[in-house]
Symmetry: C2
Subunit: 169 residues, 2 copies
């Protein structure tokens, strides 16, 4: 971890303000930056919880690859099925599965329709439509690295539903 | 918070995989992104703790404005003095003061020399040399919003010193 300090200044010596006034001091190189951590909160809503879930998923894809540039390839539609043990873990599993399939098969959903949302078995079945990610065709957004439970909120009421989910980027 | 869903799909209706196969589905707009939070860890080192402190400070400035493009204006050198109550708070106060002066007076340090590092009174006096930030001249990096105590590490040994400090960006 301790890198050589090729450009090391004589910091142990107190340097007078009057020294080297006319010269530009060498730039230091005794520092580095470690990967930064970042997250973004996706807020989605709808008249039903299904719509809010779909919105969160589409929001996630759109953050990674702007969906205006993604088309639906009818030969590639994908069925997803995820199960969990409560509402929060179902949202997590839903987004996590979509992200996993994107990471491994490069399948980008431009549209997602939840076909079944079972609150007894906490299972979602949904259909994703889109196309495979193509570096030469698609604009690149910001990679979503992981879904989190941090400050997750799922609200459902007579006015509709909304979701807040934070994802690591 | 609940925005209108002008582009709302009929999610409540289970949509067959065979519907609309040839058409591009409308893009949803039932989601939005909330400000993301991010941080970066600065790691610096030196033969002395003073050097490591200076490196962390220069690393902070270089993250905000690449210092290759910053010159020393001899008429603008600045003396800083900060006090704290232990080593960690001294590092915090040191970086915080440099950041505060940059935020209020736009003074960018290209070089920083610690002139006195007093471990009895936990006081640092240092000289910063550089110039005022000029939007038309300087490349813009990423704003450092705040110093943090998060996972702060200050190590000092016979092989030298090193610092890890996380700043919010």
């Amino acid at each position: 971890m301790r890198a050589p300090t090729a450009d090391k200044p004589a910091a142990a010596t107190v340097q007078s303000a009057n020294e080297n006034l006319s010269s530009q001091p060498d730039l230091r190189d005794n520092y580095e930056y470690k990967d930064h951590t970042a997250d973004i909160q996706i807020h989605s809503w709808g008249q039903t919880l299904e719509e809010a879930f779909e919105g969160a998923a589409i929001g996630m894809f759109n953050y990674m690859v702007p969906l205006e540039g993604v088309t639906v390839d009818d030969s590639l539609e994908k069925l997803y099925e995820v199960s969990a043990h409560d509402m929060e873990s179902l949202l997590f599993a839903f987004l996590d599965e979509l992200l996993f399939v994107f990471s491994t098969e490069y399948f980008l959903c431009r549209d997602i329709r939840i076909q079944s949302f079972d609150r007894d078995s906490w299972t979602i079945k949904c259909l994703g439509r889109g196309e495979n990610y193509d570096r030469s065709k698609h604009e690149q957004g910001t990679e979503v690295k992981a879904i989190t439970y941090s400050a997750m909120q799922i609200h459902e009421g007579k006015d509709g539903a909304e979701i807040f989910v934070i994802v690591d980027i």
